[in-house]
Each structure stands twice: as C-alpha cells, then as structure tokens.
C-alpha cells in the first residue's frame, strides 16, 4: 500500500488549482499531481504514491545510497 515509485518529471502544467505533471517511470509515462511538491520542476525525480508526488528525491543522497551498494558488494563473499 505504501508503495511509492520514483519517476522523472518531463513537463508540468497548471490544471485549475492543481499542478499536473507528465512523469516517466522507466519508459512509461503517467499523469501525476504535484500539489504536495510545489517546488518540483521538470528534470527532477519525484516519489509517486497513488497518483501524487510525495517528495522530491535528493540527488546527492540518492548517490550516497548507491555508493553504499558498492560498499556492500565489496564486503560480500564471492557467492553465498
């Protein structure tokens, strides 16, 4: 239920009082509400839950998690 998927904002438009974006998830695009992330801009990555972006992903922090992955790989035995 609390599944949220990261996607990249391709474009954003105003629709009445809402801000709607076209967001790409690995090749698939969907309409997403940006009402909860007013600062998000095209090019940003957002986490999307039931049609709403709930956060803008911090690129520096995402890189830190990726580096942690490389670190774990180094420490893992060759094959479990």
């Amino acid at each position: 239920m609390c599944l949220a998927v990261p996607g990249k904002i391709l474009e954003a438009t105003n629709l009445g009082i809402s801000r709607i974006a076209k967001v790409e998830f690995g090749g698939v695009t969907r309409q997403v509400s940006l009402d909860f992330v007013p600062d998000a801009r095209p090019g940003d990555f957002v986490l999307v839950h039931v049609g709403f972006a709930i956060s803008r992903i911090e690129e520096e922090e995402a890189k830190r998690a990726y580096d942690a992955l490389l670190e774990f790989e180094k420490e893992m035995p060759e094959s479990p």
Binding site: C2, G51, A65
Partner: protein, 338 residues
C-alpha cells in the same frame, strides 16, 4: 522489526535473511493497511457495495480480503458495481461522471496514503459533489509501535521505520519513541541495499549502546516531512481510536473525517450501524503482525490458508507477511510447509 509490509516484501523477495548472520533475526511488523483493516470494516464495505445505485471504488488489494461471510470480489461477481482504482482521484472523477449514482471510495491506508485520500475528499467538496463519499479506515504507525513496545512479550530490539510514512510526516515522533523506550530506530528505504544499510545502522547502535533515531532514507525523508501534504491531511482528517484486525482497539491510532466533511463520510451517509463479528479462530494474524510469531508457525499456513483461499488478510495482500512467505519461502527445504 521492519514496520512496513513493502519492506517485508523486499526482505523476502531478495532473501535478505539468508545474507545475515544467525544472530540477526528480522521480525515483521503490522504495516500492511489491508491486513489491519478490521473485519467489521470489511463487512461494512461489502454491505455498502451491495446496495443498488452504489459504485464502490477500492484499491485492488482490498477486494479479496475476507469479511466474516464474503468478500468484495463476490459482491462484484454477484453484479455489484465494484471498481478497482489506482488513485482516489479516479473515484472523484467517476462520481462527477455518474451524478445519478452514489460513489463510495474505500479510504484505507497509513500516513503515506492519507494526503491523497484527503485530497479526494477536499476536491469533491470543492467541486460540490453530493454523490461522493469515503469509507475511511486510516491507521497510524506510532500507536501500533507503542503497543508492540509495551507488550511484556516484546522481543524487538530495533526498528526500521517506514520510509514513505516518514516522507509524509517526518520523523520527530519517532525520535520521541526512540528516547521513551530506549530503542534504536532507523528510517529505512525499500531497495534491498536500503534495508541492509538500515540493519547495519541498527546493529551499530546496539553495539555502541545507543538508542537514537537515524535516517537511512535521506534521499526522500526529512525531519519535518512534507508540509503541504500534512496541512491538507489535518484539514480533512482528525485523530480517532481505531480497531485493528486481530489486534483490537488502539486509542488514537487512526484518522476519521472532520465534522466539516461529514457529508462525505460513507458511514454517516449509509448509516450501517454497529457490526460485531468473530475472527476465524485458527488464524494467528494478530501474533504475526506484532512480531510474536512467524507465518510458518501457523498450522494453516500453505494448506488451509493460501492466497486464493485466505483465512486472514496477511495472506491476501501482496504486502502481508504470510503472502510474502508463501510467495518466496515456501519452497525452502525443511523450514516451511506447502
């Protein structure tokens, strides 16, 4: 203990328990809203969905959850208008397109989903819809953690807090929990590497004798969370007591619609009254969701209880601990039945 069912799913899917030393045991928490939705609530949903003139809209997972006598799929099969939606805004759209029907959305979820469901109600009010309502059963994570921590049988020594719940609400309340119960808590993400890192951070805390809140999922979570989302959720919802399936009532553990939004409250619109029901006695879901038992400890697991014919909700939802074990671990020799 990881709280969130999505994290349980990642843990089982990627076989993380097999990568960890024996001393580290992962127990699975109550963070599956489908699993904790009370039997009374499911019966109420079935009752409303079966009424003539109603279009009942729900997230897909809820349809197979057994009520005391039936489930929403059976209502649909019997000709009831039950539709699956990905977003609550679809239900608002359906209501606008079908002014002669009553459209009811099954508003379940934890804090992650609350802003979206609040937005649906807020938009419906703004659009002046008089045929949209929500059957609300929102639940909150911290009261459930308190219940687990206060239990004399508790053996959880560290928590992975739910990353998407904290994306919305931040983690100040979890700092309080860590200090109050002297238990390490790490806000964790949902990728295998996130969970491994969160576990490593918990082990570091335990080895150092610390009991703090740390944030592993910093690419999405900040201390104060998502301000606009919280603002709307508090505009539409207020805290209330909630019945948790298998666990019982927990004070101040959920949301209901505020008085200003009473016209959108399906329980008031349809006046379903009080429903009292009994859980199937064989199901140990309550113990599983408090981390006191593993799914494989249940004699019905994989035999009398399978995803197609579930006794309890944790076998239904893709996030339920029983379904995660059934999907990923039942073929592992010796350990499980099935």
């Amino acid at each position: 203990m990881e709280i969130c069912g999505g994290q349980t799913h990642t843990i089982m899917r990627y076989g993380l328990p097999d990568l960890l030393p024996e001393e580290i045991e992962l127990v699975h928490g109550p963070g599956c809203p489908v699993c904790v939705a009370s039997l009374e609530l499911v019966d109420r949903a079935i009752e409303i969905a079966g009424r003539p003139g109603v279009i009942f809209v729900s997230y897909g997972d809820m349809l197979r959850v057994p009520g005391s006598r039936s489930d929403l799929f059976h209502v649909k099969a019997a000709g009831g208008h039950v539709r699956i939606a990905y977003s609550p805004m679809e239900a608002v759209r359906i209501a606008a397109e079908n002014p002669d029907r009553q459209v009811v959305f099954f508003g379940i979820g934890f804090e992650t989903t609350a802003p979206a469901n609040a937005m649906a109600v807020w938009q419906a009010k703004r659009q002046g819809l008089t045929n949209f309502s929500m059957l609300v059963s929102h639940v909150l994570v911290p009261p459930a953690m308190r219940l687990i921590l206060r239990s004399p049988a508790n053996r959880v020594q560290g928590f992975i807090a739910p990353g998407h719940v904290c994306t919305v609400v931040g983690f100040r309340e979890y700092e309080t929990l860590a200090a109050e119960f002297r238990v390490p808590i790490v806000v964790g993400g949902f990728e295998p590497v996130d969970l491994l890192e969160a576990i490593a951070m918990l082990v570091d805390q335990l080895e150092d004798g610390r009991a703090e809140l740390e944030n592993q999922y910093s690419r999405s979570v900040t201390r104060s969370g998502n301000g606009p989302a919280q603002q709307l959720m508090h505009e539409v919802f207020e805290v209330t007591d909630r019945q948790w399936r298998g666990i019982g009532p927990i004070p101040d553990s959920g949301y209901r619609l505020r008085e200003e939004y009473a016209a959108f409250d399906a329980e008031r619109v349809f006046g379903t009254g009080e429903i009292r029901v009994q859980e199937p006695p064989e199901c140990i879901a309550a113990l599983v969701m408090q981390g006191l038992k593993k799914p494989v400890d249940c004699p019905a697991f994989g035999t009398r209880c399978v995803p197609e014919r579930p006794l309890g909700a944790p076998m239904v939802s893709s996030e339920g601990a029983c379904a995660a074990y059934y999907t990923y671990r039942r073929h592992i020799g010796g350990e499980v039945a099935g």
